[in-house]
Symmetry: C2
Subunit: 345 residues, 2 copies
């Protein structure tokens, strides 16, 4: 398996990305092509002792978080994101992993590889930890204004991902809404509910925000605006909870002592909610394989993202998507037949 790692555009800098690559090549049977600025990458490769173990493609430009995705892909032709996807296009690698501007990653994927047949909108899936197994949430930011058919396709793509990564043949799919009854929600969700019922997916109906972390559903579908808000809200809340707990524990000597005794429990707990364990968010719906990492990714997160990319290619996620989509087509065809107005469908 050959994976291009975009080593630029992360908050922690290229050295941390190279360290992640080093972990991955030592742990798994993957070939990595690191893409990024020569000055930063060369010394990091040396430090990690992987100069002979990975390929390196130097680039001169960086897409920042403030760049407009479309402009960046058009104008920064020698950026690590663009060059990584060009490598994918000419089949020099099998997948791209990037911690950079997710809009630009998406734009590059679609520009160079094209959308998967019959997928209207590629999207980003993210894995949330729960009390039981992990849950896949899609879309988490690529598509902010959606129609019901887009939500149905997110359900299809996320089901394929869940099947591959968590070995669930028929993942339970829920629509994120504000009440459990199918009639509840906004116009988008109400429209999507009708489609999902007839989709061949293992659709269990609406789920509420409260259900997200319980773990009784494998896939949660929402538009990219709601998904992105939920993702960042969860991160923010988890951080706030740790801060408050630390503050309270710091107030008395007795509590501090208690914390020292319970330290391993806290560490285990932190590991359970740590995004780094889940290894990035797959970009689904284009003719290729890509994984987007959190901008703050540490080397563990990068290593895990590389392993996720490896799994997606090995199990051919796009074939699973097309297979599941085939079963959902009658629902989508009904939609066209019924001439549901554009604002609703």
């Amino acid at each position: 398996m050959r994976i291009a790692l975009d080593a630029m555009g992360s908050d922690r800098g290229p050295a941390e990305m190279v360290a992640g690559a080093a972990m991955a090549v030592r742990e798994a049977d993957v070939k990595i092509t690191i893409v990024g600025g020569e000055e930063q990458i060369r010394p990091a490769l040396k430090r990690e002792g992987i100069e002979g173990l990975v390929e390196f493609v130097p680039t001169s430009q960086v897409v920042t978080m403030h760049d407009s995705p479309i402009d960046a892909v058009r104008k920064k032709k020698d950026s690590s994101i663009v060059v990584a996807f060009e490598l994918l296009k000419k089949n020099a690698v099998d997948a791209v992993v990037s911690p950079g501007n997710s809009g630009a990653v998406m734009a590059a994927a679609v520009k160079f590889l094209g959308r998967l047949k019959d997928i209207a909108r590629p999207g980003i899936a993210s894995v949330f930890p729960t009390l039981k197994g992990p849950v896949v949430v899609m879309d988490v930011g690529a598509n902010v204004d959606c129609r019901p058919k887009h939500l149905l396709q997110f359900g299809v793509m996320a089901s394929a991902f869940s099947r591959i990564m968590f070995n669930i043949e028929k993942p339970r799919v829920g629509l994120l809404s504000i009440g459990e009854e199918g009639g509840k929600g906004n116009a988008l969700v109400k429209g999507a509910h009708l489609l999902f019922q007839n989709s061949g997916l293992n659709y269990i109906g609406n789920v509420e925000g409260r259900d997200t972390f319980v773990g009784d559903v494998d896939v949660i579908v929402c538009d990219g605006f709601v998904g992105n808000v939920c993702l960042k809200l969860s991160e923010g809340l988890a951080e706030a909870v740790f801060s408050m707990l630390r503050e309270e524990i710091g107030k008395t000597l007795k509590a501090k002592l208690g914390y020292i005794l319970a330290k391993d429990a806290f560490a285990n707990f932190k590991r359970r909610v740590d995004y780094a364990e889940y290894g990035g968010a797959p970009l689904l719906g284009f003719n290729g394989t890509g994984v987007i990492c959190h901008g703050r990714s540490n080397k563990l997160a990068i290593k895990n993202a590389i392993l996720v990319a490896d799994g997606l290619v090995k199990h051919n996620v796009n074939e699973h998507i097309l297979e599941i989509l085939e079963n959902a087509k009658p629902a989508l065809a009904d939609l066209e037949d019924n001439h549901i107005p554009a604002g609703v469908a």
Copy 2:
């Protein structure tokens, strides 16, 4: 101050509501009229020893969580929700507090009292704890499909509430979105951003889900679908965090001992994130005062909700809303002048 307490429709039953009323009358200078089923309320009044301290209006019907709000208000004329708002209409009380079906509470408020002048859509505000002070989020569920002008009015109403409850003359208002730049978000948020800039509110721009719990903003505005998802997601995550922590701590004797030593810190922490401390969500934008409590409200939450209702009436929240709305009118007038298409504005 005279407050009607709808004692039906909560998860914990009428006795807990009566216990909350007992706490309130003993702590503050409020007159309470309890509305609900005679068989359950009478013995509870006796048990709490407040038979002579509160009024009681018996009702024979209960609006459940599964009732359609509009139907319930029309057909269940002797339900506690309907009767409580009738008391408000004929000025027998100054405010209503209810833990019942929030849609039905909203419908009854609008039916019996009417919308506040120039407010297109009344909504529900909720208080979230943060690392610093509390933050007011609106709307959290009353309006699932919104236009930009509705968001602006939520900003106006939530600012009035923040001013009164937290004594902030010019609350900082943020629009919940998926990027900090004003150009980022879905069509609704982009449209609202333009209105807020010219609204006279202390508008600080977009805020992300991550900012919610940091406490650098006083009011967060979103549509009722997003707000309700966020509210329930936060509850679910907080519960999951406690469960995971409990599980991990239960695994070793050493950790258990540590927990015992740090117990006070945990209790303080729990209090900081406990919804019961914040006392319910005000219903804003109708000609009256109402507070909706969480269905799971315990007596402390009910007591605090009664105190919130008391504060809203005392400080005349509706006058503040109208005053702040006056300053926002040019922004809304621009909107009409520009003939922004209905789908966007």
